[in-house]
Symmetry: C2
Subunit: 337 residues, 2 copies
């Protein structure tokens, strides 16, 4: 699909030239004209909705025009920008950390979720739900500074491989969503990640993987304790999660860190419900999109029965709320870069 539009424009320019009209400016415009900004999206209502929305809010003088400083879009990460099955990538990171630290923490054997993590038992970890995962997160990742943690996470991401594809996790990002990020950026949007995951974990790869700098990642946080060591400022990550950026927490995280209501939001689970609501309940033209994982062959198929990426209410209410359900199977010509 990529090459079609420039070719068509070139033909049009040539035919105008045959009519005696100046072809040069039209040719120049045809060459400058970007190719299809969403080449991995199959033609259909979802691709159209994306293009229509961006067209409407960027059309100066149009009824739906939004100035660039208000073009805020928010993206969930797990299951929306990268793979979240069979369990959140950060949980795999935490399990690797817990294995390494287990000998120093004999008390961990008394806790079923902790025991599952150390044993590498994904089902046991998933059974603990988001709350269990948050407890694991605190236990496995505390006691260091944000900078120290950032390099531990980056080191792990550089070497760890997914068991199904044998690829680094940062390559298991959705090519169609990378194209949405690039399309929105090119259209004057500022894009943010709003993740239930730990903010510092996602910041460890957001710039290199998505082109999103750390301050445009909103996420769950550990209590940070300020102090001094050898007369220097030291921030210590305490073993307690003090903000859960999930469900009703997402609009709170957005309001606190971004300070502005998004005009577009992208999610894939009921944990994104309130973010989608918050974005699309604002006045003017809005866009809410949900990635529906219905492609077991190329990725995974799951929704209402899944613990990870549970999707029921958001899917059920999508039609009346005007949210677009993206079918991974139908709408995406390719999944990974």
């Amino acid at each position: 699909m990529t090459g079609n539009r420039p070719f068509a424009l070139t033909r049009r320019a040539l035919s105008l030239s045959a009519l005696g009209l100046a072809a040069a400016p039209l040719l120049a415009r045809a060459q400058a004209q970007p190719a299809d900004p969403l080449p991995s999206w199959r033609d259909g209502p979802r691709k159209q909705a994306l293009r229509d929305f961006v067209g409407a809010v960027t059309r100066e003088g149009g009824p739906d025009f939004v100035p660039p400083e208000s073009r805020i879009a928010t993206f969930d990460n797990d299951g929306t920008l990268w793979v979240e099955q069979p369990v959140y990538t950060q949980v795999l990171f935490i399990m690797d950390r817990m294995k390494a630290l287990a000998a120093q923490h004999p008390d961990w054997t008394h806790d079923p979720v902790f025991r599952a993590a150390v044993a590498g038992d994904l089902r046991g970890v998933a059974a603990g739900g988001v709350h269990g995962i948050m407890r694991l997160a605190g236990a496995a990742q505390a006691g260091n500074t944000p900078e120290e943690f950032g390099s531990v996470a980056a080191d792990w991401l550089a070497t760890a491989r997914d068991s199904r594809w044998q690829r680094p996790y940062t390559q298991l990002v959705y090519q169609p969503m990378l194209e949405v990020l690039a399309f929105l950026k090119a259209s004057g949007f500022t894009c943010f990640i709003v993740t239930g995951g730990g903010v510092e974990f996602v910041r460890a790869f957001s710039q290199a993987t998505y082109g999103i700098p750390p301050w445009r990642v909103v996420g769950s946080t550990f209590a940070l304790k300020p102090g001094e060591r050898d007369g220097r400022v030291v921030l210590t990550r305490e073993p307690s999660v003090d903000f859960v950026d999930d469900g009703p927490g997402k609009p709170v995280g957005i309001a606190r860190q971004i300070g502005q209501r998004p005009i577009a939001a992208f999610g894939n689970s009921d944990g994104d419900f309130q973010m989608l609501q918050y974005a699309t309940e604002g006045s003017g033209k809005r866009l809410g999109m949900i990635v529906h994982h219905d492609d077991a062959e190329r990725e995974y198929a799951y929704d209402r029965e899944s613990q990870i990426g549970h999707l029921a209410r958001a899917m059920d209410e999508a039609p009346r709320r005007g949210w677009q359900l993206i079918s991974m199977k139908q709408d995406w010509a390719r999944i990974f870069p």
Copy 2:
């Protein structure tokens, strides 16, 4: 000073032309060459320190080069970017709000700080210190959404006038600091405000006044309670300050929201001490600058004796920490735009 450099380059270009060398490219470069980026700064060690620092970290291949994504600079607001005397501008806003709301809150008369606020007694309010101000902030500004509060603050800022200069507060910003913001931006920096003030109050004017979008303002926050009203997401600002972005809180606010240690920091009081420390204790070339209010004639003169903008420890330790003390009187050719 502004016009000197382009003129000099033009003369050089003309003399080269007289020597038979092609003048056109040099002329084009001279026209593109920016004028002095800091015209309101008098020549001297502070202006030089600013230019040297920016030159060093932007020189590709040089020993102090910092890639653009790590060029983070943080600025305190009250007393660093705009006037904070005789009392923080947000306190004047709060006092006006409290006057308006007092009739509905007879209990306020029992609290000396609240009574002072309603009576318009600045000294009484200042005597309550930062803690008293935070309590006032909660009482006067709670119960609404961030969006509602933002427009209340913007409306007030549009009409309120400072009693000494009879100007809107957003015009009582320091022209030399606006030039630093612009100079850093043009040099590939991303600048943030890190304020002890309420984040939503500063966001109400940061874009228009400083060109800083809301997500690049870090500040003190109220607890935000998520809920629903008529089936729509509603965030309610609770009457309690849940994060004080001052003193040791500033590095915490920076780590949480920016996610990166700044390489330059600008402050004016001991409330900025830990931010200056955090920025300048990082490895590589760093810049810490303190605005010293020593100009009673053109603005105010205060430091260790002042409740507002108290400056003692940061000034005393500045020499050994390599922080530059900016003399408003000596270093700034003009104060306001």
